[in-house]
């Protein structure tokens, strides 16, 4: 790729700037916290204009349907009574929060910020790999990589190459927070410095101007959420972009053993006095088991054919699927629905015969716990190893932000595996990242 050769000279410079600005992620090794630089490869993933337009339509359609699904299951549950979806996957999934039944979030939005993971097969077809609706992270990395790229590369470089400007993410995020804000400040709630994505929390706060807060800074009084100022003043909050998970959000409503959280925040959320971004309970739609039903959801709520495909997926829960899985075990990848971050992923052909036997016994005992997917032959993407280019597996996390309508960010986080034999691209497992260039119309 000619562009790769052109960029090579700037690789060191951009990486130096990434280090300078502390673009890191946190990781625990043997119980100890470390900050690590997130390895950046300067060769971008390039998606041409028409191809992205198609992705954009598909992603909007998908996120819209997921939001309708959440609205439905926390109210009338029509999709269940109409027999489109097996209720077991909702009520025994980890994301379902019974406490949210009958509660409608401000403006009816459940998934304000969705991170949808895709891969591209060798034949060019894009497949949805998973939906991340709870607290998807990663947008900050391509944001700052582009920002620093603009400092290092020749002037007008991105304009000359017809790349869509991706520096509007903060603006999209602000718009999303403001749209549902019930009156007051917008804040970003972080569990603190020892969270893997702390850089992102603080960078978003810097760019959006929303306060970065921890649970200690917040208090619920008189049915409202307040930020406590250092002089003792209190300021009302109307929208909280929380980067902590549901179970730690409110110790008097969820896990009472939790040492963090804001007591009563859920009580006032129920009353509509604050917007929580993303809405509690929205994990009911991003469960790996629910993923199987998303194409059916799109048809059900939108009366449209899905624009983007799921990877071919089988649920051991269904007898026919189980038969297929057992017959084609070696060609499939099996995923534990409760795991994330690249953990709990098993490739059928990597198991020894005794391991395989054990696994199949487990599969039969707990069919609800797993999904099976065809192994997609990813299109490799080039990375620099030294000065030579080598092919590696990569995925794409696209970000969809919902305000009055869903908007797809014209960029995305491309993660790659540094290990030539691995399909696992997660940063916690040693992967790196790339910028994602979306081409403007002109060639």
């Amino acid at each position: 790729m000619a562009i790769a050769e052109e960029l090579y000279a700037y690789s060191g410079g951009v990486n130096e700037l990434l280090a300078r600005y502390g673009v890191k992620f946190g990781i625990y090794k043997n119980g100890e916290f470390h900050e690590q630089l997130f390895p950046f490869d300067i060769i971008p993933r390039i998606i041409n204009h028409d191809e992205f337009a198609q992705l954009e339509r598909g992603l909007k359609q998908r996120v819209f349907a997921l939001n309708e699904f959440l609205k439905d299951i926390y109210s009338d549950g029509k999709i269940i009574s109409d027999g489109v979806i097996a209720e077991e996957f909702i009520y025994s999934g980890t994301g379902w929060l019974a406490q949210c039944a009958g509660v409608s979030p401000p403006k009816g939005i459940y998934s304000h910020i969705s991170g949808i993971d895709l891969v591209q097969a060798k034949n060019g077809t894009w497949y949805i790999l998973e939906d991340n609706l709870r607290i998807p992270s990663g947008a900050s990395y391509p944001m700052i990589a582009r920002e620093l790229g603009r400092k290092s590369l020749p002037p007008e470089f991105f304009e000359k190459h017809h790349v869509e400007d991706n520096r509007n993410y903060a603006e999209l995020l602000s718009r999303t927070m403001n749209y549902v804000n019930t009156g007051g400040l917008s804040v970003i709630l972080t569990p603190g410095r020892f969270n893997a994505a702390y850089f992102e929390h603080s960078y978003f706060a810097e760019l959006t101007g929303a306060h970065l807060v921890t649970c200690e800074d917040l208090v619920v009084e008189d049915e409202n959420l307040y930020f406590k100022d250092y002089s003792g003043k209190k300021e009302k909050i109307g929208a909280i972009y929380r980067r902590i998970s549901d179970e730690y959000l409110d110790p008097v409503n969820f896990n009472s053993q939790s040492l963090i959280g804001v007591p009563h925040i859920f009580d006032i959320y129920r009353k509509g006095n604050v917007a929580i971004i993303n809405s509690p309970g929205n994990g009911a739609a991003d469960d790996k088991g629910i993923y199987y039903f998303v194409p059916a959801m799109i048809k059900y709520y939108l009366h449209e054919e899905p624009i983007l495909n799921n990877a071919p997926t089988y649920l051991p829960y269904y007898e026919d699927d189980m038969k297929y899985i057992l017959a084609n075990f070696d060609n499939l990848v099996l995923k534990d629905v409760a795991e994330a971050g690249g953990y709990g992923v098993i490739f059928g052909n990597k198991l020894s015969s005794s391991e395989k036997e054990k696994f199949i016994a487990m599969l039969k005992a707990e069919p609800r716990r797993f999904i099976a997917q065809e192994v997609i032959d990813f299109q490799d993407i080039e990375i620099f190893e030294g000065s030579s280019q080598v092919p590696r597996k990569a995925d794409l996390r696209a970000f969809v932000l919902m305000s009055d309508e869903p908007v797809v960010w014209k960029s995305g986080l491309t993660r790659f595996s540094r290990n030539p034999d691995s399909f696992i691209v997660n940063s916690s497992q040693g992967g790196g990242f790339k910028d994602t260039w979306i081409m403007t119309e002109e060639k």
């Binding site: 009338d76 549950g77 029509k78 269940i80 009574s81 209720e87 077991e88 909702i90 009520y91 025994s92 379902w96 019974a98 406490q99 949210c100 039944a101 009958g102 509660v103 619920v220 009084e221 008189d222 049915e223 110790p251 008097v252 409503n253 009472s256 007591p263 009563h264 009580d267 129920r270 009353k271």
Partner: protein, 265 residues
């Protein structure tokens, strides 16, 4: 003829060291429905800085609030009168019962409950309710009422492995058994005549309504069972969920008194 009952629920938390910024959510207030009518209810909570009442997603009346100032104890007193019609049907819409068919952490059937369940006769032409009664009988024969062995966090499987426990354990195990067969069922906290603590039983979905049965006493609930709350398990019915600063060791005293009011001549 309908009985009228008088009830008193008292709960007191004593803190070894004073606490502040005490946030609480209480779920200990019987409310009226198709089965029970509540009269003359009085609620006292001490101390309180602010509080508010609402129904949660299960329809249980909750009072939540904050006590900011230092206090060394926290007390709740509820008293009132109830009239119960055990034939009264609490309706349940079909689209609201799905979540009561699936196990929760406290009602998960492990090996010992599954093995017990396998020993049952197959379910021939029985309704879910009849099946639940059958399983309640089996459980009653197998389990011994024994206080002091299990706690509020004990799961159905743990209690059943011990074969001993209290009303909460009976209820959880019966729920685990019913859920193995996908019979919609829920946990119920309440009060029965006498002096002591709160009681727990189960409700089984039957022909569009919830019917109450008491596995601890192996019987259908009659018109002396005052319901406080219901949910998927004891956690959904937590009487008090609170957090605060300070406090050291805390002790909880609960007193429940229920007696019949004789019809006035």
């Amino acid at each position: 003829m309908m009985h009228r009952l008088r009830y008193i629920y008292q709960m007191r938390l004593n803190f070894e060291e004073p606490v502040r910024e005490h946030h609480f959510k209480l779920r200990c207030f019987p409310s009226s429905d198709e089965r029970q009518k509540i009269f003359n209810e009085h609620i006292k909570i001490y101390p309180v800085h602010f509080s508010n009442a609402e129904k949660d997603s299960f329809g249980n009346l909750c009072i939540y609030g904050t006590a900011n100032q230092m206090h060394d104890h926290f007390a709740v007193n509820v008293d009132g009168e109830a009239e119960i019609n055990s034939e009264g049907k609490v309706p349940a819409a079909l689209n609201k019962i799905g979540m009561f068919k699936y196990e929760t952490n406290l009602t998960r059937a492990g090996n010992s409950i599954r093995e017990f369940h396998r020993s049952f006769e197959p379910m021939n032409y029985m309704t879910g309710y009849e099946r639940a009664i059958y399983m309640m009988n089996e459980l009653y024969e197998e389990f011994l009422y024994t206080p002091g062995i299990t706690g509020i966090l004990t799961s159905a499987e743990e209690a059943f492995t011990l074969r001993r426990g209290v009303c909460q354990d009976y209820a959880h195990i019966l729920l685990a058994l019913c859920r193995l067969e996908r019979i919609p069922c829920r946990y119920t906290a309440g009060m029965i005549p006498g002096e002591g603590a709160t009681h727990a039983w189960t409700e089984i979905f039957d022909a569009g309504a919830w019917r109450a049965i008491d596995p601890t006493h192996n019987r259908e609930c009659d018109d002396t069972y005052i319901k406080i709350s219901s949910g998927r398990d004891a956690q959904d019915c937590a009487i008090n969920q609170g957090v605060f600063y300070g406090g050291g060791r805390q002790t909880q005293e609960v007193k429940v008194i229920v007696h019949e009011i004789l019809p006035q001549s």
